[in-house]
Symmetry: C2
Subunit: 69 residues, 2 copies
């Protein structure tokens, strides 16, 4: 399960700590999700999608998805 978190965060010029605050989670959790240590829970995925005003499917990608282009 890949994700575009780091990219979306960079577009807004937010640090991991800033994003963590906006999501109500720890900086380490943001880092762990960005670096692929684990996937967020579904409720957190919704909060992330809401924050960026995107669909969950536009942020989190099934493995292999987007690799074949």
């Amino acid at each position: 399960m890949k994700n575009r978190l780091k990219l979306l965060r960079a577009e807004r010029d937010w640090s991991q700590g800033e994003l963590a605050t906006r999501l109500g989670i720890s900086r380490q959790s943001v880092n762990a999700i960005e670096t692929g240590k684990y996937d967020p829970s579904l409720p957190l995925a919704f909060r992330i999608a809401d924050l960026f005003a995107l669909q969950i499917e536009d942020i989190f990608l099934r493995d292999e998805e987007g690799a074949g282009e």
Copy 2:
């Protein structure tokens, strides 16, 4: 976090056990998710969405979503 799992399952005339098999999880997990005991993980939510050929947002709803109509 509400969901339309029970409805989607009924449309296809599947038992909880049948759905569990198709998702590769236990019958109790399907029941727990349907009855709101907990939310699925993000990867499982993707498998569910794939199975029904829907978006995650079309199956799982933020609390209060769809309540005000």
